[in-house]
């Protein structure tokens, strides 16, 4: 199991970083998309979604995400 970091660029709602737990790269993408959709009444159209980092799951692992300059 890995903790994944994905970057999402949408047409209507700006950029996001999604952090999801998954056991494969494929699933990381689909979890990230469903998390994104859950946060919106109208799901934003995804322009680009990319997987940029993965960390093996252990206590204390995480990401620090700068909120400007995404």
């Amino acid at each position: 199991m890995f903790l994944y970091k994905l970057e999402v660029i949408t047409q209507s709602a700006g950029p996001f970083v999604a952090v999801v737990l998954a056991d494969s790269d494929e699933k990381a993408f689909s979890y990230a998309e469903s998390q994104l959709n859950r946060q919106h009444l109208i799901p934003p159209t995804i322009q680009e979604i990319s997987l940029v980092e993965k960390k093996r799951v252990e206590k204390g692992k995480g990401y620090v995400i700068q909120t400007t300059d995404l």
Partner: protein
């Protein structure tokens, strides 16, 4: 570590992360004996905690984790190998590692595919020729990088081989240093072209001179707190001058400061760079002087440029009549048979030595003039050519998804494809250094490349594809700076043509003798961004 002594960090256990608490109970180096005792029982004999200590023995689980297959790194201090050592490495990889040997960006050597059961035998075979995987990974002093030309180098002020040897002996298996807060990387070079990549090491010694009592003394300047990873920092110079015979004293002083004051609360905030960033160079020096006694202030820096470890071709040594021949190992990979053959060539044409470079290449030193032609007509040199084309000759790659658990993309094959395409399609008279990383951890040292690539996966209508962020303008000292990212993620198959466009722009607009990184810094990052935007817009 002596039994009774309480180290400063041990007193406040709330300030320690989980692994630190375990490290108080277990000395990382004990794992070596445990592996010797239990490995014949196979992977299942080791607990998860044991496996986390395998690093102290230089061993990492390779991808996929849990299969009992390991990557092992072997220290090659300053890159100096003799023929027996080269043959031992080749034999280990043939017997246990599927014929594969990788040379790393810190002059070390890596095996893959090693099964658990073979590890004690590998330790023995390495030890028999004076090589060690111990402390090649883990929270310890790692292999010491240096000048691959030490002792034969017309551009070095002094031969650093004895110093590296002394340091290696001082650090290796020394329990005073077996529990550092984090990995600890040392570099020693007296070459005036910064062949030790000083600024990206935790501790580095670079060539310097100073007039002391009317006499010109050759020695070193000292840099602390460099490192790459996800948050790269350039080392800072301390205001002191070190005579060659004092290097070990200074190194142990710096290392014990790291051991005793380095941060242990969060692992990603534990490298020496964080302490140096907080203290600043002046306070750091004060603390060092408290430990090691007064030292003279800094003299004259003798570094005049940067050679990023590229020595391909035939070059004269400082010893008249002798030459070194630098060979290309494409992205650092060599087969067991080729390594054996290199050992034979080194014996037949040189003095049996080989040197690994932090550009992931290798060289044969000590070839007399009259034997050069013979060496150059050897069939192996068709493959590991001393005259590589420009791009493949300056391409560096991390391990990538083939073996690495953290990789997002394939790197070595990708870099080969990119560099070969550029060599076919772009005319260039000045080298451009290309580095590739499969994730943000920087094993491929992407940040110091002229053009650095970092992998990501992008979802498209055709499914998941590999893509890369492009970073431009990195170099080490003098005038060091990490490269900076251009916005816009490029699908893998477009990376080579996109780089070609950027290089054409550079060729059309550069000043005489201007290197790529100098060009980027003169015209500014935005200009390159505009170029990239145009390329992406016109050929989308």
């Amino acid at each position: 570590m002596s039994e009774q002594q309480i180290r400063p960090w041990e007193t406040d256990r709330d300030k320690l992360n989980k692994l630190e608490l375990v490290k108080l109970e277990r000395d990382g180096l004990d794992i070596i004996d445990k592996i010797r005792k239990l490995a014949h029982q196979g992977y299942g004999a080791f607990s998860e905690e044991d496996l986390s200590f395998f690093k102290w023995a230089g061993i990492y689980e390779q991808r996929p984790k849990g299969n009992g297959l390991f990557m092992m790194r072997v220290r090659i201090p300053s890159g100096v190998l003799n023929k027996e050592q080269a043959r031992a490495l080749a034999a280990i990889s043939r017997d246990y590692g599927r014929d594969l040997v990788d040379v790393t960006t810190r002059q070390a050597v890596q095996f893959h595919w090693l099964p658990t059961e073979c590890l004690p035998d590998v330790f023995d075979r390495l030890e028999a020729v004076g090589l060690f995987s111990y402390q090649a990974c883990g929270d310890v002093p790692r292999t010491i990088v240096g000048n691959p030309l030490a002792g034969i180098d017309p551009d070095e002020l002094i031969d650093t081989r004895p110093i590296v040897r002394e340091l290696e002996q001082h650090f290796l298996l020394n329990r005073e240093y077996s529990n550092l807060p984090r990995k600890y990387k040392t570099s020693v070079s007296s070459n005036i072209y910064n062949t030790g990549h000083a600024e990206i090491n935790d501790l580095a010694f670079t060539p310097a001179s100073k007039e002391i009592e009317g006499e010109e003394v050759i020695g070193f300047h000292v840099w602390v707190g460099g490192g790459l990873s996800a948050k790269p920092y350039l080392a800072q110079q301390l205001d002191l001058f070190v005579r060659p015979e004092e290097v070990v004293k200074v190194a142990s002083g710096v290392t014990t400061i790291f051991r005793d004051y380095g941060y242990r609360e969060k692992r990603h905030h534990a490298r020496l760079k964080f302490l140096v960033a907080d203290w600043g160079a002046e306070k750091f020096l004060e603390k060092l002087i408290e430990r090691i006694g007064p030292m003279p202030k800094k003299g004259t820096d003798r570094t005049v440029g940067w050679n990023a470890g590229y020595f391909t071709g035939v070059h004269k040594q400082k010893q008249p009549g002798l030459n070194y021949v630098g060979l290309l190992l494409p992205v650092g990979r060599i087969s067991a048979d080729d390594l054996d053959e290199l050992a034979r060539l080194a014996e037949q044409y040189g003095n049996g030595e080989l040197r690994t470079c932090n550009s992931q290449n290798i060289l044969i030193p000590n070839v007399p003039d009259e034997k050069l032609d013979g060496l150059l007509t050897e069939p192996l040199l068709d493959k590991l050519t001393p005259n590589p084309r420009t791009f493949i000759g300056h391409a560096v790659s991390c391990t990538g998804i083939e073996y690495c658990n953290l990789a997002i993309v394939e790197t070595k094959a990708r870099m080969l494809a990119i560099a070969n395409w550029l060599d076919e399609n772009v005319e260039l008279d000045t080298p451009i250094r290309l580095h590739i990383n499969g994730c943000p951890n920087s094993c491929g040292q992407q940040q110091i490349a002229d053009i650095g690539l970092q992998g990501a996966k992008v979802k498209t209508e055709q499914g998941m594809i590999e893509a890369f962020d492009i970073h431009v303008g990195g170099s080490l000292g003098p005038d060091p700076a990490f490269n900076k990212r251009l916005k816009g993620r490029i699908p893998a198959e477009r990376v080579a043509p996109v780089i070609a466009h950027l290089i054409e722009y550079y060729k059309a607009n550069r000043q005489p003798d201007e290197k790529f990184h100098q060009f980027v810094r003169r015209v500014g990052h935005e200009v390159l961004q505009t170029q990239l935007d145009q390329i992406l817009a016109t050929t989308a």
